[in-house]
């Protein structure tokens, strides 16, 4: 939401409802006095010298005043911490009372000679917030918060936590006139007050422009998200004893039986695969049949049905790879860059995961990386989109808010008679139409009134946002993740050959060939040349690019459009 409108529902600041604007015209003189209470007791009569109340959009309001305590003995130590209220009373037939300050005495100072107690009172915002529960702070401050952008909230200062949440909003936390914490928007909708010609104090208008170095107009935000990718490479193999004539039905068995050879068994195939660090996922075994007493193939007696005439089996290898999604956001106020060139601020957020669970994946031969269930490997820490989204949204909101703040560094100050503008408060949008044409939000107010001289003035400070009416604001949202690109997969031939020795003219054993080697059941080979009965598979290479940390980058430019205020002298 921005200005009570959903984001992007309308151009920024397009809805300015002036109908509620109160015009402040030059006013007449007035009679007034301060009303002061200390710990609930009215001490207005003891007031001596001026009273000053400073309220700002960020942080505490501070009031300072002095009391003459009279000649009676006083317990000076008990003043610290006393509740203070300050009212401004405009006296006429009906006295109009306006509460301007509620707080506590933080640093009373007593002058023994003059018996004057100089009082400084603040709204003790930090103490109030520190005493709040996190839920209450969330409710009060709003905004966004991610443990990856900030740090674990437990055990830390609640005030810091509130500031962190606040940093993601275009708003400030300050104390209201009743002393309670409140949020004031930097860009309120609607102009609350317009100061008409002649309403400001003579020669009080002052303009203070922001220093160039403070007007950040580009934020380079880097956000790295590292996690483990749980990877699996598959490889299928196929082997068939050639003496079957390539036939995988019972006819293949009959053909083999007529001129038989040694055979591998399931255990050999499994052991061969596992000795390479891989494992079998699925297998279709062409077993040597058990006893056949009638029909094709009979008679046949065999108890070793794990012996194989052929096999089609799939194998897999698992590993984990550390992967970094590197997001490179560039938030830019285009108009400001065009005007004053780039003023860059950098920010960086990292999200990391630990690798403790990686071994679970690397050693498991069941489950899949995509499934979440009860199996231990299903509990693997996976890429966590909600966590990433929260971190990105929080970091973008903070950066955007930082830019908008930097673009409202111009300040306009003027004074008005206090009684004419008692309702003007911090966080209101105000239009000045006297000596200059200015709009902006009130960032600070200083009320200063001295009963002895009769002067009662309010100093109003506006922050003027420097925007471009034609500027386009992009939505702050997580982009689609970058893709990791693998080097091409090295391949192996999954069709496994066979070498069987039969007679002295059989070729010499070739140990480089994978697949099965052995001997015919009946043959005339030289015993020294006999082939070993063995099964071998060649597993494909896993390239280092698949295993070493991999980074994929996504660069995003986000345009930020500050609201438009008027500043014409």
């Amino acid at each position: 939401m921005l200005n009570n409108q959903p984001l992007n529902s309308a151009p920024l600041n397009s809805v300015v409802d002036d109908s509620d604007t109160i015009i402040i015209n030059p006013g007449s003189g007035f009679v007034w006095r301060w009303g002061v209470t200390l710990a609930g007791l009215d001490v207005s009569a003891d007031l001596t010298g001026p009273v000053r109340i400073d309220s700002t959009e960020e942080g505490d309001s501070v009031a300072s005043f002095a009391l003459w305590l009279g000649p009676d003995p006083v317990t000076i130590g008990s003043y610290t911490g006393m509740a203070v209220t300050l009212d401004f009373l405009v006296l006429s037939e009906t006295t109009q009372t306006t509460r301007l300050f509620t707080g506590s005495l933080v640093q009373p100072e007593f002058d023994v000679l003059t018996r004057v107690l100089t009082c400084t009172a603040t709204t003790r915002l930090a103490d109030t917030v520190e005493a709040m529960e996190l839920d209450a702070i969330d409710l009060l401050v709003g905004g966004q918060w991610s443990v990856d952008v900030f740090e674990e909230a437990a055990g830390r200062s609640r005030w810091d936590y509130a500031q962190e949440r606040l940093s993601t909003r275009t708003a400030s936390l300050c104390a209201a006139r009743d002393g309670q914490p409140r949020i004031v928007d930097w860009f309120p909708a609607g102009i609350a007050y317009e100061f008409a010609t002649g309403s400001t104090a003579y020669q009080s208008l002052d303009i203070s422009l922001a220093t160039l170095g403070d007007t950040t107009n580009v934020i380079e935000l880097e956000l790295d998200y590292r996690y483990s990718r749980y990877r699996e490479r598959g490889q299928s193999y196929s082997w068939l004893n050639p003496l079957t004539g390539g036939n995988t039905s019972v006819d293949g068995f009959i053909a083999w039986k007529a001129d038989s050879s040694e055979l591998p068994d399931i255990e050999m195939v499994t052991d061969a695969v596992e000795s390479a660090g891989w494992f079998i996922t699925t297998a279709d075994w062409f077993r040597l049949p058990g006893d056949i007493t009638t029909g094709p193939g009979s008679p046949w007696y065999n108890r070793n049905i794990d012996l194989l005439l052929g096999a089609d089996f799939s194998t897999a290898f698992r590993w984990s790879q550390r992967a970094v999604e590197a997001y490179r956001f560039r938030l830019v106020v285009e108009g400001a860059v065009a005007a004053v060139d780039e003023v860059i601020t950098r920010d960086r957020v990292v999200l990391d995961t630990d690798t403790a669970a990686d071994a679970l994946w690397e050693t498991a031969t069941d489950g899949s990386a995509a499934v979440v269930g009860d199996n231990p490997i299903d509990q693997l820490p996976r890429r966590d989109q909600p966590r990433l989204d929260l971190a990105i949204n929080t970091a973008l909101a903070r950066a955007s808010s930082q830019l908008l703040q930097a673009q409202r560094g111009n300040r306009v100050t003027w004074q008005v008679p206090l009684a004419h503008a008692l309702s003007v408060d911090v966080g209101q949008r105000i239009k000045l139409s006297d000596q200059a044409s200015v709009t902006g939000a009130v960032t600070s107010l200083t009320a200063e009134a001295d009963q002895e001289t009769g002067s009662a003035l309010l100093t109003i400070t506006l922050a003027v946002s420097r925007g471009d009416a034609a500027a386009v604001a992009d939505v702050l949202a997580p982009p689609s993740p970058p893709a990791f690109v693998d080097d091409p997969a090295p391949s192996v031939n999954g069709t496994l050959p066979t070498q069987l020795i039969k007679n002295p003219s059989s070729p010499l054993y070739d140990e480089t060939l994978p697949g099965f080697s052995g001997a015919y059941s009946i043959g005339t080979w030289d015993p020294t040349n006999r082939y070993p009965r063995r099964f071998a598979v060649d597993t494909p290479e896993i390239p280092e690019q698949w295993r070493d940390e991999i980074t994929a980058e996504r660069a995003v430019v986000i345009r930020v459009a500050p609201p438009v205020d008027v500043l014409e002298i």
């Binding site: 990391d352 060649d538 070493d548």
Partner: protein
């Protein structure tokens, strides 16, 4: 009086400094990811299993693993001691040609062995004198 003011000023200064420190946000070190050690690739590998005795295969080796040792099982008390594990045919009498001496012998009928794998095996030996008509 001067001292008291000094104390008071001192306190104000300290307060001011504290407030200023509170105002300045702590300088955040920009975080970075720790370095990962490269894992390296895994080269093409040969998975290999060799079993020179095929279960159930007749012919060569016959499923027996040399050497054969007499006795289905070794004597647990002294494994190295010879174990006789034989059965015999009924006794046969041999008479010397002069008829002076008669020897009685029991030809071996079966000898039981254990092979290198501990499986038992049995030799069944024919009786060379079975064809002889009983005297």
């Amino acid at each position: 009086m001067a001292d008291k003011n000094a104390t008071s000023d001192q306190r104000k200064t300290e307060g001011l400094i504290r407030d200023l420190i509170d105002l300045v946000p702590p300088k955040r070190e920009l975080p970075t990811l720790g370095r990962e050690e490269p894992k390296g690739g895994i080269p093409r590998r040969r998975g290999y299993a060799e079993r020179n005795l095929q279960p159930g295969q007749g012919g060569e080796g016959g499923g027996l693993a040399s050497p054969l040792t007499e006795g289905v099982a070794a004597d647990p008390a002294s494994p190295a001691a010879p174990v006789l594990d034989r059965t015999y045919y009924p006794a046969t009498q041999f008479v010397t040609s002069d008829g002076l001496f008669v020897m009685e012998l029991e030809p071996v009928e079966t000898i039981k062995f254990r092979d290198a794998n501990g499986d038992s095996a049995e030799f069944r030996i024919a009786n060379p004198y079975a064809e002889d008509p009983a005297p």
